[in-house]
Structure formats: structure tokens, C-alpha cells
Symmetry: D2
Subunit: 367 residues, 4 copies
């Protein structure tokens, strides 16, 4: 394997304007859930704050969070709604160090491998050449399997098709997923496929719609609610395949966030969306690679809370974010919402997942 | 005005198979939130159930609900999660009357105006001729203004543009909206436009991005959270225009449903998505016309809970559903999810809203 | 191999209304290039015409052609512009046999394999399950390689990517293409990739744009024009790979039709579009399978001239038409233009071609 | 009217590197239709060439043309295929003046109005705010009507709808079009609408498909071929409305370029695409504003041959290019092909044209 994690180049604070920069300004929260005026908002990049003359890295970031100086001397990242009276919020909206705030966008870019990887981000479309992106992704995933934390963000379409559902299940069973973020629909239709062979009433292989198959997903949800949990449902109904099955049997955490579009919902779906954000964030803060498939809602939600870097074994390393969708608009939207360091592939996620599986898992072993 | 509401043609139950059909079968709920096996699932169409020899119309419908016979002899529509032990659920999955269940899809179709209105639903695309659809919508809205209940379902894009934000505000102020269903983003960016002139940091008129404008929507949310309510925010900041302002000052209910994509959120956003569904349903059950603009999430959510008919002043009449989106896939998806009686227009919602406003409101009066 | 060509079921003309139907009416052409009033227009389906009491099959069809009775007693299909004074055009616009004209849309549908193949045509989108379509296509192409005539219709995007350009070249070299229909751009960028490694100035593998690479396609065309032919260019420049190279070295005919969008053009591009149609039709009339990749212009052109059936070794058999494009609108458009019997796949053609190659060609043999 | 044409700022050649730059190198053509090695390729921007110590502006440009020094001392722009033996082609691929070649991209940008107009070009999508673009376009067209040369490039969709076909006709009749570039389909379906009320068989107002309406466009073409010309057809059939009628009766030149997708074709359609390019170019070289509606083929063709500047009454002024399409991919493609100075609007062209007409033509006057 020739994959190399890009090295992080520490900023040199032994020069101006860093040396003569003041400490950051701090203002305490006066009302729960409300930041002080001029609060600093975080980006996806590593950010340093001068505290008592030292430049401290916020060990995490997320885009709708503010930096709070903890009593431990660390910088914590707190969402607006979670701010408490007395929290010491860093204020200031410059980014170049002058006010004690330094946003460091180029920590990985001097590395050659990395600069190639990130070189061509603009204007990607259905006509972009993706061969190299695929090859790099294969190498990356082989590395991350044992050395990283791969988070999949799934829309339902990936389980609508026989081959792609099987391919994704196989990737999970073979260690290429450390957490899965999705919604009620993905889990429902995956389990529907396991029990009835259909997704939203249509057979995942032959596209037939058996009589009354439009009841299948509702029946599945009702059975799950009767069983009380997905695990109990799987045992009761003898479910032995699919994305949910592979996740649960391989102890891959599965966060299912609720939406107003849900039928049911399935038992473990989280009804409160902000609680769901908190559960999702438990995994995005560990993520080293994030792969988002055909869901604007979950992709932008996860993208907003995933920084461009993470600390792993004491090292700062990049987080690789992939967004795969058939619409240019959808993949561009993630970038327009601030997730600048994303690799986008414009294609059908079915084909994408099957390609990835075929290249990562040798026949006879993984499937 | 020559607009005529299509007349509902009562089914003739004085013939077979209705006369000799049995009463519906009823099974009681044993576990809260779980339907009995073979529960009947409702469609968007009027459904009749034979109870004690009488064919009773379920006065409402929604797609993920089941029919429950109430102690008042009426058929109630209850979502799975709201079922209680002892609820009398109607079971059976035929639709032609043989089991005491009759789904009546053609109640309005003998009416000539209506049959033309609904004639060409298949294969609508960017190349479909929409002139007549526009003209019919203008007539419909003029009628519904005083005689119906118009529910708008809004994605954020409609407030991103100066003219369309103003046009929609004007429609609301002039009585063409009776309820608005949206999310945190629509309200946030509308108020951001009122306070800063930008939406997601870009000026809604000249497309300029002022320095630090990417803070605007977060600042707006933070100010609203400090004020404690949108109304308090508007007073404090002197906000006098926009969709939210027009809704609140004209007492048009505004339901804001939360999603995992939210920043903030704004004070009145409902965090629990199933509670949000309940709030939305309070309006969809009254709706006579539903207009969905550029939001897959809210459109499918609202579409799922809106039947093709409603009762108004003791009369059964059709509910007109419009879905406007720039992507064929998005408008088709609503139909694929069972909302068959929808009129779709494939265009940019900015242009759509401005057209509607220009045709409904005479210059000098409404704008 | 278990692939079976659907059997054609001859219509039974020994029954009414066929027995008592009159012979077709025939009117002679009075002006070159102009059909008589009420000329019959052909469809993509087999059509029979009663001539001297016999029902004669038009051995070919194309959508903008009219049936002409030849002196040999056969029915010829002639485009409007090719009609000559004195041509005996069949007139009449009924299709059920009453006027001696019978359009036979169900010749293959009693066959079970076929009915499954054609069962689910409506509403295909990015979310349709394509696993079975892929598997059937693999079987079909393995059969057609030796027993059919596979025509590829190519937009330029398929040669923009390293892997897909190589995969398609490999399919051609391994016998899976009997003719290729394309335009100036596909050939230009394929040869540009062979000579410079770029397509439209961007490297097909690493997406880099070398200095002055925007000259590459113009330089390529200029070199080809200097060489006088593509073949001479390939020899002179030592070109040894790609779609054009594979086609020419394997004697696969390559029809390049001109368009107003062309630079250059390359030497063999046909400037007159109607002459180009004639050259294309030489292959579509032999086609047993047509595969169209990411080009609206060439796809609709080829689709218009390809019937749903062909005669091969004295047998009538279906023509299988596939259209692959990333936009639902594009694949639906072919159907809207009358090519009803098309299998559409909504995906990136890069992924499609690589999948097909991986499944048809064993590693080490074909690539 | 407050519209002001941006002033062109002449480059200052009285400074380095211009003063000490050599004259351009010139190489004569040796083979008809083939440029010498290292020919200079033109961009859409004004380009100056040092000839005998003087910096001469090429009075026109087009992207697939090369600069040829004429015996009159002027720089002519010649397509590859039109090069003749002995033509003096300028060679060299630098753009900064060092080799006597200067590409001047900023001639209009110091003007404030202009810089605002061109400020936000990147990332335009369905969610971009278009209010100001519309307003500027209205002012521009009012100016250009009498002081410019407005060229419309039309796909067929704009005549598929009753209102938009009428709006465009009205714009033409009121002087807002000086030339129209389109294909066989636009003209055919526009005349079909005039004669039968349908476009491709569907009524342009009520979307009904009358019996055998799929013959209408073929019948229209056949009638036109019989009449011998569109003008004769219009007289014979009493056609009095539509885009083609308005163009012909107002002496607006209409160039119809052939494509392999054509039925028929109509009499004046140009079969040879390179001859069609020459005819199109007669108008693009005069164009001061180019408006392209829903056609990739004609838009990119016209875009390739339209420079960012033109000379009018001895003044150099910008050419304004607009591209309106419902797909981000389509409008971005024009930019990706080098037409950088284009204003794109992502919407349905029906709505666009009706908006433009409503704003430019007072009710009762133009329609």
C-alpha cells in the first residue's frame, strides 16, 4: 500500500503578527442558548486562539459552533443552543491572528500528494474524469479500515437496488464502516428488502411490484414497532442480510435521525432533530473519512458538523469528505454551505458503491 | 369569475357489490403505537367503510394513517404512533367494496372542467406547456382567497431573491395564504434579508457578499434567541417586510419544522419532527389548495398528509395540490410517493411566484 | 449462456378484420421530396400492408419515413426528402387493418423473458433498481457479439475519463461493437487523449490542465487535417490506443456526423447532416442492439431511425435499444420522441461502461 | 433610460513590455485548411498584434479561428477550414505582449456599472437571486432595440407553450430582435402551432393531444416542401402568428441550421453544418447582445463564434451574452467551452420570455 496520510505542518507562531498579537477577547454568556455579540464562528479549518500568550488549537470544529474557553484551558466547540450562562465565549471576527484568532486553511497543502488530491475542485460535473478519484478512494479506504474512522451518510436510494445494497452490506461486514448516519427511510427500506424483497413496494432486483406491495414498508415498520427494536425484529423475522443487519451484527453504530417525511417511525429513530445532531456529532468528531451518498438532508447536516481536520493518536490529520450524488446542484450545495474540502462525484450511487466494493473486496471473500 | 369547484358525485351504494358486502372487520389495538395485522392503510382518495350496514366516509385521510372507528360512529384517521390500546382499527386490503372498504378515486372526474384539469399528468417536464395551468391557478386562487384554505409549503430558495420574496410577501398580505409550512432555513433567511439585505450572506438584489456576511444568518438567529421570539425580534430590530413579517402581521399561521440541517434554531422551530407533523396536519386537514415551492423535504411531508378531497361547508370538494420545482425528479418524486393528484410545474420558483403575484394583484394595490 | 432471443409471433391474418380488409390505397408522388396527402407515417413497430390480397411486412422502418411499394413487390421505407416522382406511397392513417394497414406492437410480448424485460418502463429514474437490467445487458451483449450487430452511439463524455475510455476501447477490441455513430467531438477528444493525454485540455486521469492545453484539441484537428485522414494521423503520430484506434484497427465502421458546434472538423466528418443520416442508417438498419451514451443529439437521431424489430437470418427479432444518461429528462426525451421500446439507465456513462467491461471481459484478456 | 454602455479603455502601449516587443511572427499556410505549427488561436477577448511596430486590433474574434494578416494591413479571423495557401497566419502562444500578441481581457472592467454587472459569475444556480439581472436585461434591451443588434438563439421549447410563443413573437414584432438563429425543430413546431395549434402533437395551450396529432409536424413539413418555401407556405395556409411569421414579416433574418435529428427538413434549413456556421456568423459578428434559450447545440455553436466585444459606429463596446436554461449543467457548459463573459439564468425559458415581454412591452401595444 502506498497511501500516505498528508502531514500536518504546524503554523509558525514565532513570527509576526502572532508574536505581538493580543490574547483573544472573551465575553461570558448571559442567557442560556444565546452567544454574546461578535462571538467568533468556527469554520471547517483548524483554528488557533491566543490564550495567556499561548496559541491553543481548538481540537474540534463545526460550522454552527462557537469557541468556548473551558476551565481546563482547552477550547471547546459549543452549539448556540447548548451555551450556558457563564460560558466564556471567544469574540472577534478576524482570522489572521491580529486579534488572537488564526484560521489555518493550509495545514496540509504543502504536502505534494495532498495538493494533487485537492487541486481540482472547481467545476466538477458529470463530465469530470473520476478515474483518479476512485483510485485514491480505494487506497484511502484500505488505509482507513484499520487506521481511521469511516462514517457513511446514507440516503435511501442505495438500498433500492439489489447489487448496491449487497455491495454496501459487504463493505460494512468487511470493516469499511465505523459508523452510519441515516434516516428512517434508509433503515425501513433496507429491512423491507430483507423481509419482502422490495423497497417502497418495488422488487429490488426485477422491478416488479407485487400485489399490495405498497403496504410493505408500513408493514415492516408496524412489525418493528411490535417487536420493540430492530434487533428483536431481525431475530423474530429471521432477517440475515442488508445494511442494517450488517451494521448491527458488526457492532457498527447506526444513528437514525427523524424527519417530517417519516412514516412510523422505526423504534430507534430519534424524534428530536437537535438530539439527533448531538448523536451524529459523536461520530463526525471521530471521523477521518466521511462518505455521503444521495441525500441532501443528511449530507449537509453531517457536512456542517465535520471539520477538515481531526486529531488521531496525537497527530493532526485531514478528514476526507466525499459526496456522491447524481445532481451537480446537490454536490455543489454542500460546498456552497461551507464544506470546501469535499471531493464530489457526480454519478448514480448504485454504480459508485458497486465499484467501491468490487475494488476493495476480493471475490469469494467479502460478498 | 368563471371558476367552478368540481362537483363531487356521491358513489351509488344501492347496487352490487355494495348491497351484499359485509360490514368491515375491526380488530382492536393491543399495543400502543402498533396496528393489528392486515390493518387497512389509507390513500389520498375518499374511502367509505361499511359500518352496521351503512357506508361511512372517512372525513379525512392521510397516507400513513389507519382508519379507526370512533365511539361517535365516525371514522378517524390515526397515525401508527398515535394508536392507543383498544382503538378499533379497520382491517382489510381490498378496495372495491367486497370487504366493506371502498376507495373512490373518481368522485370528481365526471365533471368536465375537472377532467380537463386532470387530464395530462403524465410526462410533465420543462417542455410541457404551462400557460393553461397558470391561468387555472390564477382563477383558483382568486376563488380560494375567500372560499378556501390556501397552504403554502416553502423551501428557502423563494426568499433568496428580492423580487420573489417581495411577491410572496405581497400575496400573503393580500389574503392569498391561510397557512405556511416551512423550516428553520426559510424563516432565518427571510429575516436575514429583512435585517441585513442578504440571504445566506449574499445580497438578495445585487448578489454582492459584504464582508463577514457569512455571519448574518447566525447573527440573526442569535438575535432572535436573545429576543425570545420572532415577534419580539421584529419589534426590537424594526423589521417591516418579508414573508415572516407578512405572515405574522396578517395572522397567517406559520409552522416551522426542525431538521438536522438546522443552525440555531430560531425560537419557534419545532424540534420533535413528529410533533411538527401534528402541527402541520392541523393545516393540511383544512387545506383546499396546497402549493409547494422548491423543497423536497417539506413537500413530501405535506403531500403525505394531504388527501385529494376535503369537506368544506358540508360539501366534499377536491384539494388542489401544486408542486413547483426546477427538477423533474423532484416533482415526480411527490407523485411516486402516492400523491397522484398533483399538478407539477417544472420551473424556477422565483419566476413562478412573481408571475402569480403579477396576475393576482393589481399594480399599486398589493405591492 | 442462457440468453434467448424473444420469438416473434406472426400475426394471424386468417381472421377479421384482416380477411375482408381492402388493399391499401396508393398515391404516386407528384413532386420530388413531397409525399401525397394522407401519406402513412411509419412507427418503430412491424407494419403490414395488404397488397393484392397479401399482407406484406415492411422489412424495415424508421419514424420519419413513408412506405413505398417497390416494383419488386416489397415495401420500402423512404424519407420525405428522398421521395421521387412516381414513387407509389401508401396512404391511410389507421393502424388496425381496416384500411389494409396493420401496426403490430405486440409481436414479441407473449414471450415471457421478453415481457419481463419490457415490463417496467414507466417512471425510471436515478432511484430505479438497475441490477437486473445490467445482468440482462451482459447476457445480451455476449449473445450479440457473435449473433447480432451492436451499434454504439457516443457522446464525447465517455472518452473524457481514463478508465471509461479504456473500457470502451477494450469492448471494441473484443468484438462487442459492430458500428459506432458519433460526432466530431468524440473523435477529436479521443485522439487528443491518445496524443496529449488530455480531453478538452484536461488530463483524463489526474484532471490537471497543462499550460496551453486548451490548444490541444485544435492542434489535434490541425494535425489530422495535415495528415489528410485519421488513419494517416495515427500512423504519423504513433497513436496506439483509444476508441477511434480500436475501431479502425478492428474494422469497426465509424460514422462521424457534423454539427454546428464543431471545431475543425476532422477529415472524415460528414458536413451534410442528411447525408450523415443516410450513413448512420446503413448501420441502424442492421442493428440488433443500440447503446446510446450521453448524447441527446446523436441518441435522438439514431433512435428515430431504429425500429423495434429487424430481420436477421430470415427471422424477425427485436432490436434492443439502451439509452444511458445522467439526466432523467434526457432519457425520457428519447421515449417522448416515439422510441417507446427503450431501456433507460440513469447514471454516469463512465461508471456504466466500466461496469460493462468488467463483466464482459475477463481480466488479462481484454484490457 | 439610465442605461450606459460600458466605455472601452484602450490599452496603453506606450509602456513595457509593449514598446520593446517584437513584431508578431507570421508563417504562411502551405496546405489549404491547415494552419502552420504554433498558430495563434483566438479568444473571446480583444486581441492586439504588433505589425510593423504598430499594435493592431483584430476587429473580430471567434474561438476556433486564427488571425491572418491581410494585404490591407488588417487582421482577419479565419476558421481552419477556410485557410488558403499563402495566408499569413500569426503564430505564437503567449498573450502578454512579449511576442507581439496581447490579449486584453479587462477593457471594460474599470467602468463601475460594468464591474457590477460582471461581478458575480461563479456558482450561479437555481438559487441565485436574479432580480437585478432581469432589471439590467430590460434596460439593456430597451437600449439595444435602437442602438444594437440583438441575436436570439432558440431551441424548440420556447414555442411549445402558448404564452411564451406569443411573448417571443411580440418581442420580435416590437423590434427586440435583429436576427434569429435556430434549427429545423423550432421553425417546424412554431409553424405547426400556427396551423394545428399543437407542438409535437400536443396543444400548446390545453396540453390535449388530438387524434393523429403525431402527424402534425410531419404534415407541416410536407406542406412546406410542397409550397417550396416558408413564405409560400404561410400565404397558402393563411398563417398569421408565431415566431417565424413575426420574423419574416418584420424582415428579421432567420438562420435555420440542420442537424442529424431533423425530420424533413423545412425548405430553408441549411444541410451543410459548416455553411450554416458561416451564415450564423454573419449575425454573431454584428451582435451586440446574444440571448440563448434552452438549446445546448445552438448555444455552444453561437457562443463559440461570439466575442466579448464588437465595434459599432467606430466604438469598441461589449457584447452581452445571456444563456437561459433550466439545467445548471447546460449553462455552465457554455462557460466551460470558453464563453466566460456570459450571464446565466437557471429557469424555464417559458417564464423568462413572458417576464421579458411583460416588462418591455406595454399592454395593448405589443401583444
Amino acid at each position: 500500500m502506498n497511501f500516505q496520510i498528508p502531514k500536518y505542518k504546524q503554523p509558525n507562531f514565532e513570527q509576526e503578527p502572532f508574536l505581538s498579537a493580543p490574547d483573544v477577547q472573551i465575553v461570558e454568556v448571559k442567557i442560556d442558548g444565546v452567544a454574546p455579540e461578535h462571538y467568533h464562528g468556527l469554520s471547517i479549518y483548524p483554528e488557533y486562539f491566543k490564550i495567556s500568550g499561548e496559541w491553543i488549537l481548538a481540537s474540534e470544529s463545526r460550522m454552527d459552533g462557537v469557541p468556548v474557553l473551558g476551565s481546563d484551558g482547552n477550547i471547546h466547540v459549543v452549539e448556540f443552543r447548548n451555551l450556558k450562562i457563564g460560558d466564556k465565549v471567544i469574540v472577534g471576527r478576524t482570522e489572521d491572528g491580529r486579534e488572537g484568532i488564526f484560521v489555518y486553511a493550509k495545514g496540509f497543502s504543502s504536502n505534494d500528494t495532498d495538493s494533487e488530491l485537492f487541486a481540482f475542485r472547481s467545476g466538477r460535473s458529470r463530465e469530470t474524469a473520476y478515474s483518479k478519484d476512485y483510485n485514491e478512494l480505494y487506497e484511502l479506504l484500505n488505509y482507513e479500515k484499520d487506521n481511521g474512522y469511516i462514517v457513511w451518510v446514507l440516503g435511501p436510494a442505495v438500498v433500492f437496488d439489489f447489487d448496491s445494497r449487497q455491495a454496501l452490506s459487504s463493505l460494512i461486514s468487511n470493516g469499511f464502516a465505523h459508523a452510519i448516519l441515516a434516516g428512517n427511510a434508509m433503515a425501513t427500506h433496507d429491512l423491507e428488502a430483507a423481509l419482502f424483497g422490495t423497497a417502497l413496494g418495488q422488487n429490488t432486483y426485477d422491478q416488479q411490484s407485487p400485489p399490495n406491495a405498497h403496504y410493505h414498508h408500513l408493514d415492516l415498520i408496524n412489525k418493528a414497532r411490535r417487536a420493540g427494536s430492530i434487533k428483536a425484529l431481525m431475530e423474530k423475522e429471521g432477517i440475515k442480510d442488508g445494511v442494517v443487519y450488517s451494521a448491527i451484527t458488526n457492532n457498527v453504530p447506526l444513528v437514525l435521525a427523524g424527519s417530517i417525511r417519516d412514516d412510523g417511525p422505526l423504534p430507534p429513530v430519534i424524534a428530536d432533530v437537535y438530539q439527533a445532531q448531538d448523536e451524529m456529532r459523536k461520530h463526525t468528531r471521530k471521523a477521518t473519512t466521511l462518505i455521503c451518498l444521495a441525500t441532501q438532508l443528511h449530507t449537509i447536516a453531517a457536512g456542517n458538523m465535520t471539520p477538515a481536520y481531526t486529531q488521531r493518536n496525537g497527530e493532526i490529520r485531514p478528514v476526507f469528505i466525499y459526496c456522491i450524488d447524481i445532481a451537480e446542484f446537490a454536490v455543489n450545495k454542500l460546498r456552497d454551505r461551507g464544506s470546501l474540502e469535499v471531493t464530489t462525484l457526480v454519478t448514480n450511487v448504485q454504480d459508485f458503491v458497486v465499484h467501491v466494493k468490487n475494488n476493495l473486496i476480493k471475490i469469494g471473500v467479502g460478498s
